[in-house]
């Protein structure tokens, strides 16, 4: 495993401000989703990524335009960070034709193929084999592209993870396996789902290169992701990128979290908020903060308006798109 020091090439403050904006946009978007769900406006069920914004933003920023990703049930952040507009994501959550999956997918199936988003997956580990296959296609075609899968710590317990990692390393394809370790799989803590706490150990089984980084500060995440992605793109093989992070909310919106140790959440929210950290790092004045917050909040509000004004599919549309 390579140790990643936050390389002191250093990102410009401007770039970091862009990251902050993106992270805050995701945060406000997720909060709005919680609110609208509780208000009974959103069908289905939802998972938000509050606390994990630096992972989505840091990793997606390190990708090139032609790269592809696969996401998970906790998909809003990845999708926004990959460039899909809040309008398109929110419209999808409202089940509208203007949604990024045209109302067919929903929260756990956000797609944006034009932006290299091959889709969020509601089956844990479900997206990993396809990322391996996409990377294989890039290798076949000698295209300098990388395929990256997001997944959680819980997903490392499923067979698809194992088989995909083994295959990717064996075939030396340009894939990055980005493990967002938030220490929980729903209500099941690390200690009840995995016999290890250092997830880079998973990579040893395949002789795969791994990189571990803390996920609450966006700059090191970006650096580590860049290193992993470059490694894969160079043809040096796939990488397991372990990002240790925190889920600062319930598993799903409305989760009473009876299983969570009292106080854990409060403490984490106070000490491990990636947005607070980045704001501090940038030394933003209250005024600057208010302005930024105002902007993204408006963007999110507008996405709700956009979504509500969107077009409902016709019932019979349900019979379209079954086959190409």
């Amino acid at each position: 495993m390579a140790k990643v020091e936050a390389k002191k090439k250093g990102l410009s403050d401007e770039r970091l401000r862009d990251f902050l904006r993106e992270m805050l946009l995701i945060r406000r978007f997720e909060e709005k989703v919680e609110e609208r769900f509780k208000a009974g406006e959103l069908p289905g069920f939802l998972h938000v990524a509050i606390g994990q914004e630096a992972v989505a933003v840091g990793v997606c920023a390190a990708l090139e335009e032609d790269d592809v990703i696969a996401s998970t049930h906790r998909a809003h952040g990845h999708t926004l960070a990959r460039g899909t507009s809040p309008n398109a994501v929110m419209a999808e959550l409202y089940g509208k034709l203007e949604g990024c999956s045209h109302g067919y997918g929903g929260s756990m199936h956000l797609y944006d193929v034009e932006r290299g988003n091959l889709g969020a997956n509601a089956v844990v580990g479900g997206g990993l084999p396809a990322i391996t296959g996409a990377a294989l296609a890039f290798k076949f075609r000698k295209e300098p592209r990388v395929a990256l899968a997001f997944f959680g710590d819980g997903a490392t317990n499923i067979g698809t993870f194992h088989e995909s990692m083994n295959l990717a390393q064996l075939w030396n394809v340009p894939a990055v396996f980005c493990l967002e370790n938030n220490w929980w799989a729903e209500s099941t803590p690390n200690s009840q789902h995995s016999p290890i706490t250092d997830f880079t150990q998973r990579a040893v089984a395949y002789g795969m290169h791994s990189i571990k980084v803390g996920g609450q500060e966006v700059e090191p995440v970006y650096d580590a992701a860049s290193e992993a992605i470059d490694h894969a793109r160079r043809g040096d093989g796939p990488v397991l990128l372990v990002v240790d992070t925190y889920r600062l909310v319930g598993h799903y919106v409305g989760d009473p979290q009876v299983y969570r140790p009292k106080g854990e959440l409060q403490k984490l929210r106070e000490t491990q908020d990636p947005i607070t950290k980045l704001r501090g790092r940038l030394g933003l004045s209250d005024e600057e903060w208010e302005q930024l917050d105002g902007e993204v909040t408006r963007e999110v509000e507008e996405s709700v308006e956009f979504a509500k004004n969107g077009t409902d599919p016709a019932p019979e549309d349900a019979l379209k798109n079954v086959y190409a």
Partner: protein, 330 residues
């Protein structure tokens, strides 16, 4: 007669079995503190502890397989697969192992394993959280398959599943969990292979499973108001199947509608229709109607989802088609 929801009935059965029998234990994702994603096992970990109400990793094939191994040692594990969609990850162990160990060993082994799972649309869970796959398992000799539709049935049948010496897959349905009913004071086991005549009638037999039992009852009421007398039968256990009760009813009514929430094509209704046309051929006055989900994955947007899955209107239309008249007699 206590009133129980379907959810409570499942919980009550599990608790009763665990209280009397140390060989019974539960495994599944998030079944402990969280009580499972549907809250079914809520509170059981407090009474029985985390060894017997085991949270598992996300390892659908291994937890079914571990259940098989424990069952072969004479324990009676109850494994929960959170959604039927994820049963697709366990099929190898269910189909090649659980179903066949007894046979392949020439009768040396028993696999008293119960697999509980649930699914069902109608709440916009999307295409990977609502499939109904019971038909697959009916195709596999060595498995038993049940799909109880009421608190009383699930209580009595889950009990029988736990104490069956064969692997049993119990299909529950998301929308049935809150359904309430007075149930017998004492848990009464219900044998497999006995269909339940839910409502008697003379003109048409509706054979329905899971949530469609309730939707069919609504349709039957409405049809009754229009002068069509509908018998509703719930097979309850799909494997073994009580062909006799189904056939007897159709021989009386001469008409049949089969309905389930799963996709119509190659759904369980295909088997039922085949059995009925074969055994009641000379009694049938109209083709057997099948009412199931239309041929598409489950769309997210509620308006599309509702279009795909069958409701009481669809059953009613099936009933009217089979009695040869249109809705409202027009």
């Amino acid at each position: 007669m206590p009133e129980l929801t379907y959810r409570e009935a499942v919980r009550d059965t599990l608790a009763t079995a665990m209280r009397q029998d140390s060989d019974v234990f539960l495994m599944g994702e998030d079944i402990a503190e969280m009580g499972g994603s549907m809250g079914v096992t809520h509170g059981l970990v407090d009474e029985f502890g985390p060894e017997r109400v085991r949270n598992t990793p996300i390892s659908e094939i291994a937890i079914v397989g571990a259940g098989i191994g424990a069952a072969m040692q004479g324990m009676r594990p109850v494994v929960e697969i959170m959604y039927e969609d994820f049963l697709t990850l366990s099929t190898e162990q269910i189909v090649n192992q659980a179903a066949k160990h007894r046979y392949m060993s020439g009768g040396q082994l028993k696999v008293p394993l119960t697999i509980r799972t649930q699914g069902g649309a109608g709440w916009s869970p999307g295409a990977q959280h609502a499939q109904q796959l019971e038909a697959w398992f009916v195709h596999i000799p060595g498995l038993k398959v049940i799909f109880p539709s009421t608190p009383t049935d699930v209580r009595g049948m889950l009990w029988s599943a736990i104490y069956d010496d064969n692997p049993v897959i119990v299909f529950e349905h998301r929308l049935l969990y809150p359904v309430k009913e007075d149930v017998p004071e004492k848990l009464e086991p219900i044998l497999f292979g006995e269909a339940r005549v839910v409502r008697e009638g003379e003109d048409v037999t509706v054979i329905a499973t899971g949530p469609m039992v309730h939707r069919s009852l609504e349709a039957a009421e409405e049809a009754g108001r229009n002068g069509v007398s509908v018998e509703v039968i719930d097979p309850r256990s799909l494997q073994p199947l009580d062909e006799e009760t189904l056939v007897t009813s159709v021989k009386k009514t001469n008409r049949c509608v089969v309905t389930h929430e799963a996709v119509t094509r190659m759904g369980f209704g295909a088997e039922v229709a085949s059995v009925i046309q074969y055994q009641a051929f000379d009694w049938l006055d109209a083709p057997i109607e099948r009412v199931g989900a239309k041929f598409a994955p489950l769309a997210f947007a509620p308006v599309m989802e509702q279009f795909l899955i069958p409701d009481s209107e669809d059953v009613l239309e099936g009933i009217y088609r089979t009695v040869g008249r249109k809705r409202n007699g027009d």
